[in-house]
Symmetry: C2
Subunit: 210 residues, 2 copies
């Protein structure tokens, strides 16, 4: 066996795509006085750049599925390692049976551009999302939504205003486990960048914590 001739094992058709995002989706029904809810979502992705759009997939039985259908809104809250246990809790418990936000001592804040769904306070960033399409796909419903506003925690910006999301300690989900993002390996285009660009932009790369 050479380096170009690896052995593989077939494991059957399954959802092994990894890493996927591990995010908290916050939502509320149409009544602005109703209780908001948050749920953990890993079946989530960016689906378009212009306009910016994301998708989330939910089982129709999930309590939040009804809230999102009712309001046509949700917020995607990025999750740092300090919210990982909360994320997991919001993934295994149902908002139909308890106030998960209260159980996790989470508070919400307004999400710009949305009338009903709030954002979760303390998370590194929140994407305000308005549902544009809903597609039934078997066990899950795919919600395709436009990102209408984004807010980012102030401590993730440099003094010159540049965003350092790598400082957020974001959490990913891979094959049943949560992993924190580690070492920064390069920037988009680094494989073809000129030496002076590499010197300038790779400064500090190779650090575990970004």
């Amino acid at each position: 066996m050479t380096a170009n001739d690896h052995a593989y094992r077939e494991i059957g058709a399954t959802t092994l795509l990894a890493p996927v995002p591990a995010v908290l989706v916050s939502c509320r029904g149409k009544d602005p006085d109703s209780r908001p809810n948050a749920l953990a979502v890993a079946w989530c992705g960016t689906v378009c750049s212009h306009p910016p759009m994301v998708s989330i997939s939910l089982k129709p039985s999930r309590y939040s599925c009804g809230l999102i259908r009712e309001s046509g809104e949700f917020a995607v809250n990025l999750v740092g390692e300090e919210q990982c246990r909360t994320l997991d809790y919001c993934g295994v418990r149902s908002g139909a049976e308890e106030d998960k936000l209260a159980a996790c001592s989470l508070s919400v804040r307004p999400a710009r551009g949305l009338l009903c769904a709030p954002a979760v306070d303390g998370c590194p960033a929140a994407l305000s999302c308005q549902v544009r399409q809903e597609i039934a796909l078997g066990s899950h419903i795919l919600f395709i939504a436009e990102v209408v506003a984004v807010s980012v925690r102030e401590d993730l910006f440099d003094q010159d205003g540049s965003l350092h999301l790598e400082r957020a300690g974001l959490v990913s989900y891979s094959h049943g486990v949560y992993q924190r993002l580690g070492e920064t390996l390069g920037f988009f285009g680094y494989s073809v960048a000129r030496p002076d660009t590499l010197r300038r932009r790779m400064e500090g790369y190779g650090r575990k914590e970004g």
Copy 2:
């Protein structure tokens, strides 16, 4: 300002969802003797569990978009840190102008369940995908595909047959940079697990390399 009252900055509507997968998508036109191609995709996600389905979003101008439309197939190849530079190269160069696989010394292998698209040899895993729907979303076309087979590199399995994907050093993409997955923080359900389960399953957790 208290721990429950964080300051946020609005940055406008943008594609800040993170981390997202950083994968190599391999494809080929209908002619089995035609040259295969690979491209980097970060706008990718799991969209359904049963049947297992993923989505990828491509600009219509990309060379591979035509190949995937022609064959109705692609393979999603997970990327470890040893393929990160190749991934970046396949993201900035076009298969219309060069043989990227040859330029990166990548070889392909058959992808079970697919007639045209191959998998990339050496990547930690490959998902064989058959396109089920195509949705135009502005700058990008969303391809929704069923995962019909999955192969995983043999060295990622334990002697007892359990898969340790956390050993693959998978790469994520966040706000323009590639980051390797690091410390394992927990397993799905760890926030509500019983002490004996935690003792058994969290063994080795907290390690940087998984």
